[in-house]
Symmetry: C2
């Protein structure tokens, strides 16, 4: 990237990269998107699959994704209620870049973890007055 290519609007919250990178970085959003890549899933199923997340936070995540047009929320008129979440075409189109990133992660995160250990060890030694 050349100097002149850096958008003057990096601070613009609507800068394309910022919008997407933020969503990717969201603690649960990417996981939900990848889960929904397998087809529609109802709320309670999502909860089971991502059992560490509380209903409040899961709902927040889903609402944000819905607002961004990445998933749809369909309420089935039943008793008990049933709500299905499903990727939109837009959401599905995100699956590929997301998968590429996940593959990069699986291939290279071991190196990152090693680098962290090495860095931390060097820091420790420095602190010990060496």
């Amino acid at each position: 990237m050349d100097t002149k290519d850096i958008p003057a609007n990096v601070l613009d919250p609507n800068c394309p990269s910022r919008v997407v990178f933020q969503r990717i970085g969201d603690k649960w959003a990417s996981l939900v998107i990848q889960v929904l890549g397998g087809g529609p899933v109802r709320f309670s199923e999502l909860r089971k699959m991502v059992s560490v997340v509380t209903p409040k936070v899961l709902t927040q995540t889903l609402r944000t994704l819905e607002r961004d047009g990445l998933i749809t929320r369909t309420i089935h008129a039943q008793v008990p209620p049933r709500v299905d979440y499903e990727l939109t075409a837009l959401g599905e189109s995100l699956l590929q870049p997301l998968t590429m990133l996940r593959e990069w992660a699986e291939n290279h995160v071991p190196s990152i973890l090693e680098a962290r250990d090495a860095y931390d060890d060097a820091q420790d030694e420095a602190v010990l007055g060496r």
Copy 2:
């Protein structure tokens, strides 16, 4: 993604996807990586290029990337001091998936912004008692 494919360790901070997605979502990290894709850059240059970030936050970002083994920091013994930051091979390998994601963003963020407007309008109408 099938149910059984969901790693039981989503809460593991060392889960590959989590590590990378978090770094991508960092407010300045991805931008710095892409800037450094053009070759080594010294601290003051980075500051000018990303002029909205304070030195403290820029330093934080750089330290994190260095710890992760994505960039190197080289101090030149000069007066005045000069410090260059540069991508490692690991950092460079991240450039491609990052670019793919940025391209997806540039192509699809307009749709996301439209979706947000539509969603917000619908919400407003609902609030107005319609």
